[in-house]
């Protein structure tokens, strides 16, 4: 029986890979419903990446909708997402706020300097404590928060042009944000 163990473990892997391929063929990267959707975003009070003396709270951002994009310099999938943000962040019609998650500020700054900075503002959560309230368990994740501070939409995993077009843009229009043509 012992000698069958490696084979059994490998078959499990094959099933997982098969599932991955099947999933890839059927989905782009989809959103997973979050219990926070429709609820107020948790309160936060975090320093800015580029000027830690300045802090940003949830109250500061009330009044108009914004997109909160959780990223980190260590996150491989964020590297995939980044060019998409670079290309489309300005065309979305609302500010995109970077949420630097469990990251060293120096690393994040270097990463943004190397790949470009698509964010209107970057806040940093080195310990990841605030992110727990947002239900963040990895990067990248993206939250759409409306003028009243309510989470309207959440996307887990990299934003792709497809996700922005098919999922995010309709949500934006519901809030009265008009993305640029072509999105």
């Amino acid at each position: 029986m012992n000698r069958l163990l490696p084979l059994a473990a490998f078959l499990l892997l094959v099933v997982l890979f098969g599932y991955g391929l099947w999933w890839n063929a059927r989905h782009d990267v989809t959103a997973v419903p979050s219990p926070l959707i429709g609820k107020p975003a948790p309160a936060f009070d975090l320093p800015q990446l580029h000027d830690p003396a300045l802090r940003v709270t949830k109250a500061d951002l009330l009044g108009k909708p914004y997109l909160l994009n959780v990223f980190a310099s260590w996150c491989f999938a964020c590297g995939d997402e980044h060019p998409v943000l670079m290309a489309e962040a300005r065309a979305l019609g609302l500010p995109v706020i970077g949420y630097d998650y469990k990251d060293k500020p120096a690393d994040a700054k270097a990463w943004l300097a190397a790949h470009g900075d698509p964010y209107a503002l970057v806040i940093t959560d080195q310990s990841g404590d605030t992110a727990i309230n947002f239900g963040v368990y990895g990067a990248p994740e993206t939250f759409l928060i409306d003028a009243d501070g309510i989470i309207r939409y959440k996307h887990i995993g990299p934003l792709t042009p497809g996700v922005i077009r098919d999922q995010l843009a309709p949500q934006l229009r519901k809030l009265g944000v008009q993305p640029a043509p072509g999105i």
Binding site: R3, L4, P6, L7, F10, L11, V14, L16, F17, G18, Y19, G20, L21, W23, N24, A25, H27, D28, V29, V32, A72, W74, C75, F76, A77, C78, G79, D80, E81, V84, K102, A106, K109, A110, W111, A113, A114, G116, Y137, G138, A139, P140, E141, I156, G157, P158, T160
Partner: protein
């Protein structure tokens, strides 16, 4: 017309690979010498046609034949010839062709240098390699042919991805593939042994030089990859734990475990089933790496994901090769634990602990790499785990291995002498303590102290053992290649640890805004920014900065970091590195700020960073030296080695 010849050559190679696979295996089973004799000529013929096919693709790049779609996608009229050459393996299709070419190089080498193997065994080994080749040739021909035409031909190509336009990338993939594919030889040996009954352990001795050789190449490939990402990605890191790196690192970890397990099996007859399993795992992880990188299963926005058939094909192939070999293993692996008994305190025990740690580390990397997929399957979303996960777990798992390294050579097979080991611990520990205190006095932080301690500890062990051999072994037999290789590789681990930990601890990194003429102090160095001007290359224009680096008022380096825009419009940072044995100074150009010539710059002082690559190269050298040991080429051992003095065993000249 010529590109079609490449395709035809591949088809002929496939037919010969089928012959090389089926007939010798059949011959070995039926005891038919004529069928077995087909193996070598078939392998040689296959090599000729694969090489021809590769030459055809190279020719298409050299002559800029943009009617070949692959050339049009990866070349450009202004691309210099050396990058046109390396562009042959710059994308999926050509890189597969390189894979196959290297598999054929290994096969032909094996066919040529396997005269000392029993004919049946050699036939099985070549048959298994033929099977692997069939799989890859089918994959290339049906899903990834590099010879597809683009008609009408465009007047110019799209250019090679600028990230790949770097000298490191010319040699990195061939080295890496030499390692990846080289494990197919150890794999074929294991399968042949299983098919033949694996009754004795001779196969392990024959497999050892090949495994060490492949492992050395893989080490070189990983070192080059690390160095390239440091120089090219413009952000000063040397390891990122991204899936592509992990894909090469997992076979390396298992390969490291394997070369040690092989030693136990060869010399003591122990760990038989484990060595077989590791041989299968090492190559399986190479295939798995190929699958992860090529199928797009991990990142759906990955460039290779264009054709879903590819993912399905590789998964099926992976299932057949790995599933099939594990099934053979389950059915045929030796049921009784063989080998000489060993005490709790013995070299065997140390190697077993090291093996378990290395295997666990490989499993840890595998789980981390697959985490996005697992997250998916359980509806947790597609998220990555990064260095916070890998780094801490890896250090935890590797710490015991490093602790054991000095004792390995001193511990006798069977039963080690506790007092002798205690003495080693005392001396290595004292050296480490001395190093640690020194690092503390010089003002290093915890990681710097740890790095110094680890390097002194490992280094002391190596020196102690070299000294012991010098005193105790008879002249002329003091340092057999196998032992020199081991000592060099172990010393390499020490150098690597010193480099990795010291550079992590002592590096100073600053993102600064500098106006022309302004200076910034980093560590003991003043970086004076002289401004930026435009320069032109063959297929790019660049903003090139100029920085003068001063130390105590004297100029130590003038550096020229670039921000290039390639003809295809892609932007690429070229960091300027002033390399040195004790430290690298590293500058990357960020963004222009304002209209007065100010730029965002990243400035680094990275002490000892070269050491980690140098340590890696020492490990590589150790692998090559070991594989050259004459003992491995002997057909039969004249006598079993005496416990504890295995390396003093009677030595025969090459058979």
């Amino acid at each position: 017309m010529i590109p079609e010849l490449g395709e035809v050559a591949l088809i002929l190679a496939l037919l010969l690979a089928l012959v090389q696979c089926v007939l010798p295996l059949l011959g070995a089973w039926r005891n038919n010498a004529a069928l077995m004799a087909v193996a070598r000529p078939a392998a040689a013929g296959q090599f000729v046609f694969v090489a021809l096919s590769f030459a055809v693709l190279t020719w298409a790049f050299m002559t800029q034949d943009f009617s070949v779609a692959y050339v049009a996608q990866n070349s450009n009229l202004s691309l210099p010839w050396y990058y046109r050459f390396s562009a042959v393996w710059g994308a999926h299709e050509g890189s597969l062709l390189l894979w196959i070419l290297i598999l054929n190089v290994w096969t032909v080498a094996l066919a040529a240098f396997s005269g000392h193997l029993p004919p049946k065994f050699a036939a099985r080994v070549l048959g298994v390699l033929g099977f692997v080749s069939v799989g890859f040739l089918l994959f290339t021909l049906f899903t990834s042919s590099p010879f597809g035409r683009l008609l009408p031909a465009p007047s110019n190509g799209m250019d090679l991805n600028p990230v790949l336009q770097d000298p490191g990338l010319i040699i990195h993939p061939p080295m890496l593939y030499m390692g990846y594919v080289g494990f197919s030889v150890a794999f074929a040996f294991a399968i042949a042994a299983l098919l033949g009954g694996a009754l004795d352990d001779d196969w392990v001795r024959w497999a050892r030089p090949w495994t060490n050789f492949a492992w050395a190449f893989l080490t070189a490939g990983i070192v080059l990859g690390s160095w390239w990402s440091y120089a090219e990605l413009g952000w000063g890191g040397w390891w990122f734990w991204d899936p592509v790196e992990n894909a090469s690192f997992m076979p390396w970890l298992i390969g490291t475990a394997l070369i040690h397990a092989q030693a136990v099996t060869e010399k003591r007859g122990g760990l038989r089933a484990w060595t077989l399993l590791l041989s299968i795992f090492a190559f399986s992880l190479s295939l798995l790496g190929t699958f992860l990188v090529r199928s797009g299963v991990l990142t759906s926005v990955h460039a290779f994901a264009s054709d879903p058939r590819r993912g399905v094909y590789i998964l099926i192939f992976l299932g057949v090769v790995v599933g099939g070999s594990l099934l053979i293993y389950a059915l045929r692996a030796p049921k009784v634990a063989g080998g000489k008994p060993f005490a709790l305190l013995s070299r065997e025990t140390l190697i077993v602990i090291g093996n378990l740690m290395l295997t666990a580390a490989a499993a840890m990397v595998l789980i981390g790499t697959l985490y996005p997929l697992v997250g998916d399957a359980f509806h947790l979303g597609r998220v990555s785990v990064g260095p916070p996960y890998f780094g801490s777990l890896f250090i935890l798992l590797m710490a015991p291995v490093v602790l054991l390294i000095p004792f390995g050579p001193f511990a006798r097979w069977g039963k080690a002498d506790g007092t002798a080991l205690g003495r080693v611990l005392l001396i290595a520990g004292a050296t480490a303590l001395f190093g640690g205190v020194l690092a503390f006095v010089l003002g290093g932080d915890a990681r710097a102290i740890l790095g110094t301690v680890a390097a002194c500890y490992v280094g002391a062990g190596v020196v102690l053992y070299a000294r012991k051999r010098w005193r105790e072994a008879p002249a002329g037999r003091r340092y057999p290649a196998e032992m020199v290789g081991m000592l060099v590789a172990h010393a390499g681990v020490g150098v690597f640890l010193a480099g990795a930990l010291l550079t992590t601890a002592l590096s100073v990194e600053r993102d600064v805004r500098l106006d022309p003429g302004q200076s910034q102090r980093i560590g003991a160095y003043d970086f004076r920014f002289e401004g930026v001007h435009e320069v032109r290359g063959p297929n790019w224009t660049a903003q090139q900065g100029r920085l003068t680096v001063l130390h105590d008022g004297a100029v130590v380096a003038v550096m020229h970091p670039q921000k290039r825009v390639y003809s295809g419009g892609q932007v690429q940072t070229e960091a300027a590195v002033s390399a040195g044995a004790m430290r690298d100074l590293y500058v990357a150009l960020g963004e222009p700020l304002g209209n007065h010539g100010a730029w965002a710059l990243r400035l680094y002082d990275k002490p000892f960073v070269r050491w980690l690559w140098f340590g890696g190269l020492m490990m590589m050298l150790g692998g090559f030296i070991t594989s050259g040991d004459r003992r491995f080429r002997a057909r039969r051992m004249r006598a079993m080695p005496v416990p504890g003095t295995a390396t003093l065993a009677p030595r025969e000249s090459a058979a």
